[in-house]
Symmetry: C2
Subunit: 329 residues, 2 copies
DNA sequence: CTGAAAGCGCTAACAA
DNA sequence: TTGTTAGCGCTTTCAG
């Protein structure tokens, strides 16, 4: 690769002038033209490594997520990417597999690469942000929170859980189970709390503990929990799945048992990815994944630009998508 | 962040020695201990930016894909990631939206960041690899090919298309349509060629041109094409979808028309992501996405390590997953 | 085994 | 507006 010095020599200017041309400072038109010409000729691309070292900051933001194969997070990533891209930042996508150790490694890398900031969907509430925060790098958490005082973008999980459940009650279901994620993940227990609240209010005779299953936020987790629920002495007539993959797993098992929705009520928090079901068969409480990514990226860029106001928490609303499912059995 | 000099001072050694400790060169045990101790105390992490500048190469590989929201590519990404990770390399995931301009931008960034190598799923066969290849950076293409002389990992699309079609014939379907991707994308036309070959051989009375639809490799593309096929004077009784998202779109439309598989034959090249259908309803020719990622990453790492043998092309096999679907209508 | 010192390519004072 | 120059933090000869 050609360097700034070679370009300078060819263009008959100083290296500083070449740098200025590429950074939008005041340079006379003739010299700009000469530099551009020389750059083209030498196929010059400025070295980002040198720039990063010198500026102590790279135009890169890290997006750290627990599961790259979950469409919810790829949708979020799209939001982040679009905003970052148009501001001239690259996004490095890091996959933690919900593993705290991997998460810590990636945070170290972000630091050691001098990345401008981090958007983190925490693997759990025990994330260690000490180093990155004391280094003064901005961090925005998404989807879940931590105990640190950072910007966050979350959604109203409790309401989402309530809405999903309420709709099943309204449709006429009377024995509503719930499958949710790990007990120590806030999106999991908050959505379950929403379900519990509606049960208490509308179906007080039900025993929530009997009908609730904690699981992983994965398809096989949904499958296992659904099997378990169907094996109950008095099985449920409907289920709230607290995320997209759990919903897929539950519906798979139901289908295998001949209990196709909407005969068996299914309500999913988060949209069903690539569903082949007819849209009215399942209640979906849509989560604003893309929007969450856009919001987080925007906030992060503001911080990078030097915004120092106190940490903000943005709560995004969810929306009931198909409230019209009618009971057909 | 602490630097190597501060660590050196605290440990009572020279900066060079600190560097050696972190790079596995010969240093006496006492000094190693002193350096480690000092590093811990100062929370020292070596600056990758400086290292990259000095070594003219970063331990980062770029993975450039056309659609991050397609589970096929995220699965591929997982394969790449796992191999890279265990070799101490980070992966930067770049999303081109099948846009050649974005692809070129990302290739420039890879160069300008001194990344060690690139794994590219080309947006089309017109990708421009001139710069990156003349710079001597190794490139492995996956999924699709280019005209450049690089390593590649592809699969046998023609056979996959044949297998998907053949299975429908065997099941008893007699009017088999095909929905495939853009006409200039090799995975699209090769799979369609497989379909055409079986038609010619087993159902020579059919007019392939009437039953073939080129589209985008996206859900809405599958929907449109399927609608179009169903509106034919003499509609098909079955369809081959040449990728996962097309399959989803086609099945959605079929379901809306009351033509649920397996009554209407559906064969998909690439697995149905997060399907809620019963497994026997649809024929799936599974593509080795993860394996492809693993293979590509392994090859790339070999090149990075200095392997200079002539370019290799690895062709991965696909596998028929549910050949047992019986016609039930 | 260890240290001194040069230099990777760029940016930003400072001077002119 | 332009050039000179120091230095970002690391690795790597070269001496010792």
């Amino acid at each position: 690769m050609a360097t700034i010095y070679e370009v300078a020599k060819l263009a008959g200017v100083s290296p500083a002038t070449v740098s200025r041309v590429f950074n939008g400072a005041g340079v006379s038109v003739e010299k700009v033209a000469a530099v551009r010409e020389a750059s083209r000729e030498l196929r010059f691309t400025p070295s980002r490594a040198a720039r990063t070292l010198r500026k102590q900051s790279a135009e890169v933001i890290a997006l750290i997520i627990p599961d790259i194969e979950n469409p919810y997070f790829t949708e979020l990533a799209r939001g982040v990417e679009d905003v970052a891209q148009s501001a001239g930042y690259s996004v490095v996508l890091c996959n933690t597999d919900s593993d705290l150790e991997k998460e810590t490694t990636y945070l170290q890398i972000a630091l050691s690469e001098n990345m401008a900031g981090v958007i983190l969907a925490p693997a759990s509430d025990k994330s260690d942000l000490d180093d990155i925060l004391t280094a003064g790098r901005p961090v925005v958490t998404v989807d879940r929170q931590t105990d640190y005082d950072t910007d966050r973008v979350i959604m109203d999980n409790f309401r989402a859980g309530k809405a999903a459940t309420e709709n099943l009650v309204r449709t006429g279901f009377r024995r509503i189970a719930c499958i949710t994620g790990p007990q120590d993940v806030e999106t999991a227990y908050e959505r379950a709390d929403g379900w519990r609240a509606i049960l208490r209010q509308r179906l007080p005779d039900l025993d929530p503990d009997e009908l609730l299953r904690y699981s992983t936020f994965r398809v096989d987790g949904g499958r296992e929990a659904m099997e378990d629920l169907l094996a109950l002495p008095e099985p449920p007539d409907s289920v709230v799945a607290s995320n997209n993959l759990l919903g897929v797993g539950a519906i798979q098992v139901l289908t295998e048992h001949g209990l196709t929705p909407p005969a068996f009520g299914v309500s999913v928090v988060g949209s069903l990815p690539f569903t082949t079901l007819s849209p009215s068969a399942v209640t979906v409480v849509r989560l604003p994944a893309r929007h969450m990514g856009v919001t987080a990226a925007t906030q992060l860029l503001e911080r990078i630009a030097g915004d120092h106001q106190p940490a903000r928490t943005v709560v995004l609303p969810s929306s009931l998508e198909s409230a019209t499912a009618a009971r057909t059995s």
